[in-house]
Amino acid sequence: MNGPFAFTLALGDDALIAAQRLAEWTTRAPEMEEDIALANIALDQLGAARLLLSYAGELEGAGRDEDALAYLRDDREFRNCLLVELPNGDFAVTMAKLLALSAYQLPLYTALAGCADERLAAIGAKARKESAYHLDHAALWVKRLGDGTEESHRRMQAGIDQVWPYVHELFAAPPGAPVDPATLRGDFDTTVAAVLAEATLTLPDSGWAPGGGRDGVHTEHLSYLLAEMQVLARAHPGARW
């Protein structure tokens, strides 16, 4: 895998799997207004995924388009971080995941917007506005749940505790990346610390830092997610939709 391809693919996979998970909330959100909000965020992630995967396909030069990359790879070939493939859990877990993801994607896309690769710069410029919105949304809910009722506080803290070990993987740099994610860690930590403080929540201190997504070594969950996502496309090889 060449560097730019691997990097673009990893970002595209992050966005695609995040979209697939967020879309699972449709018809199930805690309030009808939130159903719409989560669908919006899923649509943004899906839109970014399509741009990134299309471009990754071009970088690869093997004739694969967004759908070939999304539907015809197995889990060992996916390069998304583990964070996005984790099951949605309750609404608090989903908001913890969204907080981590958007606090990472915002500075990442912002940095990409200024990078030398014009295509990635354009995608970054578009996606960072969306990420800012996602981050606002996650922060808004983390504060409300953290500083809401006793039950919501307990659930929100549990969500953060459950999700946080998976954050470390986000900042490992793939070789040849136009932006080194390690340089984003400071921004990420500042953003998250401010939200959690206001939400009366704390970060767990755990030495556990699972990883492997960038190398195609995933949790057991991803294969099920892909089985569902790909079932129809794979049942009709070569068909147009």
């Binding site: 449709t26 018809t27 199930r28 805690p30 009808m32 749940l145 039950e151 147009r240 939709w241």
Partner: protein, 351 residues
């Protein structure tokens, strides 16, 4: 089931054109001088005058209690249908066969949630809260459209729903853009503009399938076979058996009968099915020169009554799903309320 009214002629631009014409008529009627003063002593006479002049009744106007109740029932039922209607199509979001289709379907189902909310908001102007309406749905005291109690078994069903179910909904709803109650008419104008996208994406799905592999074409035909008659049943029982129609017509909530709308829908679909290359599952479907309309086989109204009374294939699942989401979300809604209350207190202390 929703009510109706449309001009006999197709306005330029098809259904979207009709929606725009309704919007223009709403504005024109608002400008028109009725030649009468505001409401005097006789509120009922004033109400009748406004209706006669094709103007809109607004939330704080006096209105007959039965008018209010009819509207609440109809708008709420419509809102519930939008919300429950998300489920059959939502069923395929995770498995949509291309990323483009996934994005379109997700946006479409999201729109339906929006429609539900516009409509709940319109109903609330009549003096009932959304909480109460949601309760009425959840404990089964108010209904939603029977069509959503049928299962989506294949991807082609998503196409069939867009084309036929959204299509039938538009035929039902375009006339409601001229409904005498202002908030409902305005909500319907908004909804109908969005529905046009829904119908087209469904038709496009079927068109691609019908021109795809033999398996895809078979999938499309199977979907049409299963969705055709339930879609015809969406217009409600035949005119002879329809309750509360006459009064709704007099109040200009409804302007065309169930059978008139059903006929219009069939007449629209025949040519569209031909372009798809699919066969409408009705051997008796044929043009009647005398009537200048198609003769067709009526849907099974006994089945419709069964589905309405709760015995369709998916009634129980749809309701259980909705109740589950509502119950599971309670702690989140409580948290948001508690947080808002705390913030208010802080503001008070700071002030």
């Amino acid at each position: 089931m929703y009510g109706n009214d449309f001009s006999g002629e197709d306005a330029p631009g098809g259904l979207l054109g009709e929606v725009e014409a309704a919007e223009a008529a709403l504005r024109a009627a608002a400008e028109r001088d009725r030649g009468a003063a505001g409401p005097g002593e006789d509120l009922a006479a004033y109400f009748a005058q406004v209706i006669d002049a094709d103007q809109k009744i607004e939330p704080r106007d006096w209105m007959p209690e039965a008018y209010r109740r009819t509207l609440i029932r109809q708008i709420a039922q419509h809102a519930h249908s939008e919300i429950i209607g998300m489920q059959p199509e939502g069923n395929w979001i995770s498995r949509a066969p291309s990323l483009k289709r996934k994005a379109i379907l997700l946006a479409k189902v999201q729109d339906e949630a929006g429609h539900g909310l516009y409509l709940y908001a319109a109903a609330e102007t009549l003096g009932i809260s959304r909480d109460e309406l949601v309760d009425l749905l959840l404990n089964g005291r108010q209904k939603y459209s029977s069509i959503f109690n049928y299962p989506t078994l294949t991807w082609a069903d998503v196409g069939a729903i867009g084309w036929l179910v959204d299509g039938a909904a538009i035929v039902n709803q375009v006339p409601l853009c001229r409904c005498s109650y202002g908030p409902y008419a305005r909500a319907m104008i908004r909804v109908c503009k969005e529905e046009s996208f829904h119908q087209r994406q469904g038709y496009e799905i079927l068109h691609v399938l019908a021109h795809g592999t033999p398996a895809q074409k078979a999938m499309a035909q199977d979907a049409l076979d299963r969705w055709w008659y339930p879609s015809l049943a969406m217009f409600g029982p035949p005119d002879g058996d329809s309750t509360h129609s006459a009064q709704s017509m007099a109040w200009k909530i409804k302007r065309f009968s169930n059978d008139e709308l059903r006929q219009r829908f069939v007449d629209m679909c025949v040519g569209q099915a031909e372009v798809l290359g699919l066969t409408i599952p009705d051997p008796d479907l044929r043009w009647n020169d005398e009537r200048q309309a198609y003769d067709f086989t009526q849907p099974d109204y006994a089945e419709l009554m069964q589905v309405i009374s709760g015995n369709g294939p998916c009634n129980r699942e749809r309701m259980a799903h909705r109740r589950h989401a509502h119950t599971e979300g309670a702690w989140v809604r409580e948290a948001a309320a508690a947080y808002a209350a705390k913030q208010k207190n802080k503001e008070k202390v700071a002030a």
